[in-house]
Symmetry: C2
Subunit: 364 residues, 2 copies
Amino acid sequence: MKIDGKAWRSIWVQPDGWSVGIIDQTKLPHAFITARLASASEASHAIKSMMVRGAPLIGATAAYGLCFALREDASDNALNRAYAFLLAARPTAINLRWALDEMRNLLLPLPPAQRVEAGYATAAKICDDDVAICENIGVHGLRLIEDAARDNPEREVNILTHCNAGWLATVDWGTALAPIYMAHDAGVNVHVWVDETRPRNQGAALTAWELGKHGVPHTIIADNAGGHLMQHARVDMCIVGTDRTTARGDVCNKIGTYLKALAAHDNGVPFYVALPSTTIDWTIEDGIASIPIEERAPEEMTRITGRTANGDLCDVDIAAPGSPAGNYAFDVTPARLVSGLITERGVCAASSTAMLELFPERGK
Amino acid sequence: MKIDGKAWRSIWVQPDGWSVGIIDQTKLPHAFITARLASASEASHAIKSMMVRGAPLIGATAAYGLCFALREDASDNALNRAYAFLLAARPTAINLRWALDEMRNLLLPLPPAQRVEAGYATAAKICDDDVAICENIGVHGLRLIEDAARDNPEREVNILTHCNAGWLATVDWGTALAPIYMAHDAGVNVHVWVDETRPRNQGAALTAWELGKHGVPHTIIADNAGGHLMQHARVDMCIVGTDRTTARGDVCNKIGTYLKALAAHDNGVPFYVALPSTTIDWTIEDGIASIPIEERAPEEMTRITGRTANGDLCDVDIAAPGSPAGNYAFDVTPARLVSGLITERGVCAASSTAMLELFPERGK
């Protein structure tokens, strides 16, 4: 999407034809700094340190990381070593393993001399495929926003989102934000309520930043505020992303998503979840019982980075000294609270039947 | 309640017998600093700058402020001037007006020479009455906690609270926290989930501080986390305070309370609201339609004060630069989501009938 009028992706091959550029997302929203990755260790470091985050972008970064390794040594041994090394950067990221498997399965059968070129082509395809999937999510979600705009032609369509499911988390477009960018670009009058998304503040830091840079009207709100806004008919729909969706449509996403879904349900506000079908876990049904929820460092709750008056970045402690903090990263929204899943193939109800109709190849 | 083993109130007459001590709550949780108030302007400043906050404590501070003015000039004119001056410190605080009315109505009929002594006696009574009300709320709420403890004798009783309805907001005990302090002091194994309470962080800053200083086990969590904890049976009950309750039991409280009440309802967790009956607004029924919600400065969302590594306090900007922010201070929880109101007279259902049974003098 655009930054101050210029089109960007979250990862790109540099003019030298082989090294790769990324946006250092650890510096956002305080500073816009790009970084050049030119070795497998730099790619691994970028993933580990969260300079790049979001499942699709992590996968793409690892794919290029493998290319860098192959430029130095394209042997089977080197390929397997680089695979293991990059996979270790964030061992629980399913998409990281998927991208590395794609690369290795395609490259190992080839003669070493052809591997670098084929590797770059595959990495580029991984990126382009992700863009195409997000674009299709955008096209299907756009119709929902256009319908809402037709229902209320005199005023803006107010959409609430939680966390960051934007182009910074993918290669371009994003998932939850793709329909919003398309609506905005098509001239629909959209306004986005951006949940701050404590404790890591991905909403206030990343979603607000990317919407602002692209020129989409938005307002940052406390995670506490969505219910009040829905009670007063100031939200027309919610669109959020997801890390994992179960076969019956339970949605695991950033902590707090469930609370917004409850408020949407209580106020008759449609609650949509945008997702690439690759994040559907067809092996489980009950998300609350089956999905373990990561607990992260308490310091993410009690310490925060911000800009001082003179522009320096500074970490400050904000909670009562010595008080323990709990940091639960995700929650599960039961399918009964989800109005629809926006996938690259279309929109369907959050139910086994509807999901299998859209993805019949998953039926038994 | 106690700070490191020593009993405190949030306001007290100094050993000199006339000036008043307070805790500078703007410095909490980063530093524990008391301040001495000795003039009406110092009392007004303490209210305006939120060195003191919470309806009962604001009223008590204003009452003593009036005493300070009378020590200098006890004439009718001076009394009326001080009344108006102190009322202007926070014109929308209902309890501030109530305390000043109490003082003026009692003092104006007296000869000026008796006003100072009678003023101090009335201010002390306002404080003691508030302590007695909170203590009674505590006694009634304690039974609910003891019942929960009996249901699960092998483990702790987990109570979730939002914002700060503790002794710092009153003169002593607090409202929502009074039953918790009593349970803890009575040896019940309680643990409190403390909602951070964005944007002003009264939970992480004030509730965690006062629970910690009194020795009550607690854990700070993101406002987003309560639903997840309730889904996994890690919350036995919620107890929150309220700024205003309608005649049918709709509850206006800090923004985000409604979302927790929805989650409690969805998971069968009792949701209690603790309140002095003076905060019941018998003139309105529908809280969502009738209570205007204050919108505060966006900087409360985008800027935060914390401690740097060397212990200095520092304000930092945390959101995407230039992104607008909305700051809605309260929301309304419909009576249907409230399991019970804990008042100084006992616990009742959140309904006109039950409330009038407990407060029959309000019946028509």
